[in-house]
Symmetry: C2
Subunit: 144 residues, 2 copies
DNA sequence: TTTTTATTTGCAACATTGTTGCAAAATTAC
DNA sequence: GTAATTTTGCAACAATGTTGCAAATAAAAA
């Protein structure tokens, strides 16, 4: 994972690459993403960081990160929107999200299984496929 | 699809089988599900039915249908919760939802591809799989 | 470094969405 | 039909998401 110093440097580089100003809020939010190796939803930021930043700022920051391809959304069956940091292959214009998401029914954590490829699917005639989202529900490694 | 009369009879039977009272609200909501052959979210009911029933009643009705296995949720990447009627194999205790969901990027409709099976997925060691949700984004038959 | 310009943030106010308790109304059981 | 049970609608509230604008901060220019 690296020292605090290294993480901060990596985050600064990431923001610079995306042509975004380096601000406290953005750095802190990205730190939270990198430390929790799972998906986060909006309410997590208030829980994890107290009220060190405004709700509105969090919404806007996540929106910006989405547009720049720094994070991606993960489908859920509830009203929350869950986000995870993208791998290096993702850019603003081309978004590779061809991995499987795992939601643990015990601890509630959602993780990206980066090594698990999304299988190919044969659609009925007349449908055009752009991308496939897969969420597996079950029990994760640490909860068994 | 059948006549209005036949649909009403089918709905009554469905409610009776689930041991639910047959009420105007429940019948109307099921009618909306059967007529729109796609998934519906909460706001759709207010749009489709005006304010012929209360918001609270819709929430409670959908909750009841979920518990009885009459409808199921479909994962989304936004804050809405989308529902679709289950096939006959679904019951209160055993829920078969092994089909693929398709979200059209053009018309926005979400449909169940009942004939398209969810492919098997090889998880990393240590993970237990309970069920798999697949949502394909693309362009549907009617929008091409 | 200091000044200028552009961007980001926080606040306030609001809009939307979801929840709970309780009395009135409707449905089912008798 | 009447009684018992369930469901509904209202009111009030809680939580979540959005917008405009002035103050604060970061980047660019001098």
């Amino acid at each position: 994972m690296g020292t605090k110093q290294q993480i901060t440097e990596r985050i600064s580089a990431l923001l610079r690459d995306s042509k975004l100003s380096i601000t406290d809020t953005r750095v802190k939010i990205l730190e939270l993403f990198m430390r929790s190796n799972g998906a986060l939803e909006h309410s997590d930021f208030e829980k994890l960081a107290g009220k060190s930043f405004d709700r509105v700022t969090v919404y806007r920051t996540l929106q910006t990160f989405l547009e720049k391809g720094i994070i991606h959304k993960i489908p859920t069956t509830d009203t929350s929107v869950r986000y995870a940091v993208c791998k290096s292959e993702c850019t603003e214009h081309h978004h590779h999200d061809h991995h499987v998401h795992f939601k643990c029914e015990n601890c509630g954590a959602t993780t990206c299984l980066d090594e698990t490829d999304v299988p190919s699917i044969q659609l009925p005639k007349g449908y055009a496929m752009h991308n496939v989202e897969v969420v597996v529900n079950g029990v994760c490694k640490s909860c068994k």
